[in-house]
Structure formats: structure tokens, C-alpha cells
Symmetry: C2
Subunit: 115 residues, 2 copies
Amino acid sequence: MKQHVDASDDRCPVEASINLIGGKWKILILYHLISDKSKRFNELQKTLSTITPRTLTRQLRELEEDRLIRRIIHPEVPPKVEYMLTDTGRSLVPILMELQNWGTNYLQNSDLDQA
Amino acid sequence: MKQHVDASDDRCPVEASINLIGGKWKILILYHLISDKSKRFNELQKTLSTITPRTLTRQLRELEEDRLIRRIIHPEVPPKVEYMLTDTGRSLVPILMELQNWGTNYLQNSDLDQA
DNA sequence: CCGCATCCAATAGGATACTG
DNA sequence: CAGTATCCTATTGGATGCGG
């Protein structure tokens, strides 16, 4: 396990950041945890419709390992597990927003090029 | 060719942005093109010491395809090729800086955890 | 000098079936 | 409900050697 690059492996802070959120689904997961208090495994899976449980599990575990999200297990039957942003994860939100602005602009310019 | 994900394939602007700079060496290349006016292929290769020419070429081509850098060929013998940021690439710099700040902080906290 | 061609290794991610 | 187990494919990046 722990095959994904540990952010602290490289001392370049920018690369470290990118490694944390570079996974295919990670920013989407982060995004869906912004608005609501917490989400359950099945909720996330429904929202990300095409993700497989194995992949979702792994992305969540990596985000947890990197302390961007917290996983809360309720010892019940049937099982209930909640995911929410940590303070560290929440501190990333403003940057996500800026990336969104930049990306929106970028995509618009791409469309203009093709017109 | 064109195996890497086109940023305009997905309509999520944040993912689009991440796709542009998510490559293993891309932010490093971008970073080295900030300060100086332009850099030649060999200069970049020396700076990134462990990168292979093939990999460097591909990263550069993808960045060029995404219009973050410009490639200028001087028809000379021996060949001379320069790389520099485009305006689009330069517009990304502030976000890179914020990622750097965030990442620096993140890495410091990681160190504290281990102490 | 600036690559490209060929081959290869590692990893990320997916399909499907099954379980505490 | 919230995952695991097993197998598989796709993509990324590297090693090495050659070419305009």
C-alpha cells in the first residue's frame, strides 16, 4: 500500500500540493464535501455516478492519509461512514476556487479558438 | 498521439486546470520559465538533471499544445530552440505562488506531526 | 543541439463479483 | 451500507540508441 506519492517525498511545495489533489476524482470529491456538512460513501458514489467502489475507496483513503478529509465510522448495523473536510482540507478551498476561475476563463478561450 | 487528457474534454474547470499542470515535471518547467526570459532545451534538461530527453520533449509538447508555453525554433546550425511562457501560462503564475504558500505550510505541519 | 524511435516498467484506474 | 478481492487495461514516464 501507500503506492501513491507522499507529498512530503518531494520538497517542492507546489509539487506537493499538486500530488495531493492530482488524482482523477480528488478535487471532485473535495468539491462535493465543501457545501454539505458531511457525506456518506453511497452519497458520494451516487454523485460521481461513474466511479467504481474500489476507486472511490482508494481516493478517499489517500485524501484521508493526506489529512484533507476525515473519516468517521459509526458502529451501527447497517454500517454508516461519513466523510468531511478537515481544517487542512478546508484551507485548500480558496485555491480550488481560483483554479475554477482560471479554468473557466481558459476553457472559454479554448472555445473561442475553435470558433 | 494526444494521449494526455485534453483539458477541454471535461467541462469541470478545476479538473481542466489540474490536467494542464498535473504532469510530473510540468510545474517545475513552468517554474523555471518564470524568472528568465526564455530557456533552451539543454538548459532545461540540465536544470531538471534527472529528466530524460524523451520525457522533457513530451512534457514541453503538451504544455505547448495547451498554450501555456511557446516554442521558438531558430533555423540555425546547430539548432537552437527556445521556450517561454505564453500570456496564458503567465496568468497561471499567481496560482502557482499560492499553491507554493499552501504547500509550504502543509509540509511544515507534516514535519510537526512527525516531531 | 534538439530531438525521435523503439522498447519497457511502474502506476493509476476500471470491471466484476463477493462479504462483514 | 460500505466496502474487498481479483483481474485487467490504459496511461505515464524511463532507458537506450539513432538522426537531421
